[in-house]
Amino acid sequence: MECLRWTALELGRRIRAGELTAVEAAQAALRQIDVCEPVLNSFITIDPERVLEQARAVQRGIEEGRFGGALSGAPVAIKDNLCTRGQRTTCASRILGDFTPAYEAEAVARLRRAGAVILGKTNMDEFAMGSTTETSAFGATRNPWSLGRVPGGSSGGSCSAVAGGEAFYALGSDTGGSIRQPASFCGLVGLKPTYGRVSRYGLVAYASSMDQVGPIARSVADCAAVLEVIAGHDPRDSTSLARGDTDFTAVLGRDIKGMRIGIPRGYFGEGLDAEVGAAVRAAAQGLAACGAVVEEFELGLTAYAVPTYYTIASAEASSNLARFDGVKYGYRASGEGLHDMYKRTRSQGFGPEVKRRIMLGSFVLSSGYYDAYYLKALRTKARIKQAFDAAFVRYDLLLGPTAPTTAPALGESLGDPLRMYLGDIYTIGANLAGLPAISVPCGLDSGGLPIGLQLTADCFQEKKLLAAAYAYEQSRPFPLCPMLTAEAGAGGEAADAETRGQGTACERKYICPEQMRREG
């Protein structure tokens, strides 16, 4: 099981060198999944036979010289809002509980062409709406660092899988921080690329003007390598942009001497946990020691990002989720006539958080309120973008915490949605302004929970982000998450019943290897 501690690049290198095969790597990951899943619940769908079949094909391809890429043979976990042809894609929602896509998301297709072995589909907040992975219809996911804590969200399953050693890296999606915040809570590196950098084709839409697919991994280099594979123009996503500067791994190790880094003062105000603040300030000093010029400045408008985001995201969600009506795919309830069927299907198919956002979005778009709420938010977004533009005249990067706290305990967040939304304060600016941003682990709090440092760059400046994040990572190595063992798994199960019960509207249907063996 030693290989489970390697980064995806280290694994890829050793597979290419013939030290182990893609099949052995996949088997090791499946064994760890078998140990972890009863406790972590990182995955919604796993099909071990399909995993091994892919691994055998990839291994043949490596031996025949068809797969020479750095990540060939490395097993990856995919967030369950990215369509996988022929494999169930649920968005962690009852309404898509049995939906099998007829096509593949572009980011997934690019990984396959690069020799990835897809392990399965990871748990998430329903339709990516949430910050804890507790709004999933398939039960909550646990944080491998502390089983009583959430992994963050909405890409919580992807992060718990990578931290727990079940997968070598993962894809997530980030509309308001959904890659960076769970990466921060799980001690991982998570990168949200510039809007338009990665195709959204096949990503089930939440808020289309902000959704972006990105990598989650154990190292900055892994994130750079994955981004190199998935970035690029796709004619099927007209918001994806054609750019040639995608050799992201080329900047790893580049000197960051003289790089200008600005710290927005407003990011260290009320609501920030003292230990998180201290760790992030220490990280800023670490970057200064690497040669960066670090100073504080006033970004402005920070307090307005959360209300702007929730207005726009809810409006777009209410429109995007109108397609789930029980006619074309997914769940259908019985009803008296067409309209009654629509309403019953949606009411039974969506969970409370999704309904809350659809209602708010429908309201802010409705006649009489559109100008006061929706257009006002779009105007404020323009002002926020201007504030970032002004900052990037002076600075190469902005630095701050990824989240105000470390991972909260399971069950303590959903009761107060507004308080949960305020936790997105540092991440959503990048989504509103389309900026690339990365979360890198920068310490543990006194309870042993990971703290994340966020770096943000101007549009299409991922290379600056990666160069600085890599320099920081090399200067302050971060520990890997302690591995779960079979004994810990069994111990955690009893305590699990309470939290599982809240979100089990859908029967879990994944097959673990152990279960498969039992069933013959």
Binding site: F99, T100, A102, Y103, Y195, G196, S209, P235, S238, T239, L241, A303, Y304, P307, T308, Y310, T311, S318, A322, D325, G326, V327, K328, Y329, G330, R332, G335, L338, H339, D340, M341, Y342, K343, R346, S347, K355, R356, I358, M359, L360, G361, S362, F363, V364, S366, Y373, L375, K376, A377, L378, R379, T380, K381, A382, R383, K385, P417, L418, G434, C459
Partner: protein, 98 residues
């Protein structure tokens, strides 16, 4: 300031959102929305006089292409997921007219 969210407003939003809510859900939705809109009112502090609403981050133009089919016929795989089944090349849905 956010207006008080009345029962009629929640009924209306429920119609727009195509959601059938129980009485309890309606009451909760009213409370949630009132609190959230009260918070969103914070935006009234921001001077947006003369600022255009920003819908797109980059100046992208319409993308045109020839109207040529490039993908194969995937209709069977798409229809396979229709919850009401398919009849004569169309998706089956409940009757809309008696």
């Amino acid at each position: 300031m956010a207006e008080r969210i009345t029962g009629e407003m929640i009924e209306y939003v429920g119609i727009l959102a195509k959601l059938a809510l129980s009485e309890e859900e309606k009451a909760q939705a009213g409370r949630d929305m009132e609190r959230m809109l009260g918070y969103i009112d914070l935006l009234n502090e921001v001077d947006t006089e003369g600022v255009d609403p920003m819908t797109h981050l980059f100046s992208v133009a319409n993308v045109f292409r020839e109207d040529v089919v490039t993908n194969g016929d995937g209709s069977e795989a798409v229809w396979a997921g229709a919850p009401g089944g398919v009849k004569e090349g169309g998706l089956k849905a409940p009757r809309t007219l008696e």
